[in-house]
Amino acid sequence: MLVLSALVSGLGLGSMYGLMALGFYVTYAVSGTVNFAQGSSMMLGAVLTYTFAQTLGWPGYAAVLLALALCACYGLLVEWLAVRPFVNRGSDAWLMATVALGIVLDNLVMATYGKEPRSLPSPLAQAPLEVGGLGLGVYPLQLVIPVVGLVLAALLHYLSRRTRWGTAMLAVVQNRAAARLMGIPIRRAVGLAFALSALFAGIAGVLIAPLMNVHSDMGTLFGLKAFAVAILGGITSAWGVMIAGLIFGLVEATITATLGSGYTQIVTFALVIAALAWRPNGLFGRAEVKKV
């Protein structure tokens, strides 16, 4: 019973990490850069949905759709303000710039949305699921999240490997100059990747919001764990990243249930280091081959 409930809640948590980590994957695959403040994009999705649905009283679907659209716009903004200026000059300062922009967003949200954590109700998180009268300890929403995550990973995989457009995007990271000569609109491709990345984080935020509290720094710890997951999965494969997320969540919950919560962080992150020592390119990644 103990292990079963740990498995179910671990699966839910893990798919949230995976979903966020997909955001790292998209931009890395196209541009070799990431938005380190991915947690802030997730927070934005949750806070906007809360504002539209609770404060303004809009119907749920409209609130979610507009929140996600704005998240995608925020992704474009991140690329334009914090990534492009530095990449153009061959600098790695986008690392710091994306973190800085995330902090700016966190504080803007705190100033406008408020300092108190709030709660976003969802029909999928009202009553816990029961099997034969026994509480499983999960809301239906916690089972929806893995499904959404896996579907998005599959979609990304299909797009990048099976379509002309996806191949073009991947070409950008291989050789910018050659890609441009082939007529691939690089700027648009990179911008689109960042929009997608923030969109994924936004989806994660909307899905997670009813399970946790909505506030301006809700994404910080999640963003960090998602980055660990992205690296663990070998950032170059959509499937890898998503599955690494599930593994991370399952391991975390199982350790908590068996050894106790005092050991969760120590053992989980020690395992991440061990896994990376064993496979430096991540569990599902391939070593980068430079084709000249």
Partner: protein, 394 residues
């Protein structure tokens, strides 16, 4: 055209004369600065604002009566520590060296206070804690000790939690669910000591992170170990997550908590089970009020547009502790007859009687006791809708 040196000199002379003329009365009217270092941004910002308001209402009362030390008004100088010990120390330093405050109030968070207190003892500036409950803040081993407090103390709260649980819920095997930080640690120590003194063995000790989403795994362990009551220590967000996780598990168990849930909209965050959490408070603005209580509520409604009644004075403990602490500090300054740190420290010991919000203080501080709030001063409370009311009063 050249400027005559004479005219410049004359202007200087004039300025110097004016400054001299201004200086003499300025000394008598110069405000006494009171510093406050607390979280004014982030998740705990509301609590920082409550401390500010409690202090400000007290300062307004004191200034309306003509101030201290022959007409010197009190002035509040605030700094944000962002709940970060390093930033707290920088802010405290600035208040002491540049603003030259007479007393530093501060540290909503135990780790921040623990970081500031050594500096205060070294610089001989009194420190007043209106919130952070860590035992070591006032019991810091320094001689002389400049740290005072008008708030709960973990060590005493922990004894109170066990006694309350045994009396109310016949607790025999409590499970501990604590936030994984120095505050949680301070209470783990305190609760274990309290349980050992009463011969109670806990079912287990589990920790959570401040932003954890799902605490079912931790709670399942406590349930499997046979816990009959939960002792909870954590801020409002994670405390709500504990309650939500319990609801998902369908586990109805009495919860006796430190005062974390009081820091926000606990009912909205935790749902229907929120009212089952019993937590410690030093004061409640609901129920029958003393004349002091009525006066403070009136002053708060008049001063702050968003305060319509007792329900908006939140968190109540922040306002009440800070209000009493500010008045006691003013009495100490008055007794000291100066703003010198060591004089004020000894002034605290000379306070005889003060009718405050939490209680009527009689000799609240001695060289051995730097905590004005003691075990019988606590109130047990629960949420009813969005109001924090004493348990049983409904």
């Amino acid at each position: 055209m050249t400027r005559s040196p004479f005219s410049l000199g004359r202007r200087h002379l004039l300025a110097a004369g004016l400054a001299l003329a201004a200086a003499t009365p300025a000394l008598a009217n110069e405000p006494i600065k009171i510093g406050l270092v607390t979280a004014l941004s982030g998740q705990s910002a509301l609590a920082g604002e409550a401390i500010t308001r409690g202090m400000q209402v007290a300062i307004d009362e004191i200034n309306a009566k003509g101030g201290l030390l022959g007409g010197r008004k009190l002035e509040l100088v605030r700094r944000d520590d962002e709940a970060n010990p390093a930033k707290g120390v920088v802010a405290a330093r600035e208040l002491v060296y540049r603003e030259k405050v007479a007393v530093v109030f501060g540290g909503l968070d135990t780790p921040v206070s623990m970081a500031i207190v050594p500096l205060m003892n070294q610089e001989k500036v009194p420190f007043m804690g209106p919130w952070a409950a860590g035992t070591g803040i006032t019991q810091n081993g320094a001689k002389p000790n400049f740290a005072f407090r008008v708030s709960a103390v973990d060590e005493i709260v922990d004894v109170g939690m066990l006694a309350y649980a045994q009396k109310t819920f016949k607790t025999a095997k409590p499970g501990l669910i604590l936030v994984n930080n120095p505050w949680g640690e301070s209470n783990e120590k305190g609760l274990k000591a309290a349980m050992a003194a009463k011969g109670v063995t806990p079912a287990g000790v589990e920790k959570f992170e401040a932003n954890d989403v799902d605490m079912v795994p931790q709670l399942s362990r406590l349930k499997a170990a046979g816990a009959d009551t939960l002792f909870m220590v954590g801020n409002v967000g994670p405390s709500a997550q504990v309650v939500k996780s319990l609801e998902r598990m369908g586990w109805k168990v009495p919860i006796v908590s430190h005062w974390g849930p009081a820091g926000g909209r606990f009912t909205e965050l935790a749902g229907a089970m929120a009212k089952d959490v019993h937590f410690v408070q030093t004061y409640s603005f609901f129920g029958k009020q003393s004349p002091v209580g009525e006066r403070v509520i009136k002053a708060m409604v008049a001063k702050y547009p968003n305060v319509k009644g007792p329900g908006d004075i939140s968190p109540a403990v922040g306002v009440a502790n800070a209000y009493d602490a500010m008045h006691l500090t003013a009495l100490a300054i008055q007794a000291a007859g100066s703003t010198k740190g060591d004089d004020i420290r000894q002034g605290f010991y000379k306070i005889d009687k003060f009718e405050g919000l939490i209680k009527t203080y009689t000799k609240p501080f001695t060289p051995e006791v730097h905590d004005a709030v003691q075990a019988n001063d606590y109130v047990w409370a629960q949420f009813v809708d969005n109001r924090i009311v004493p348990v049983g009063l409904n």
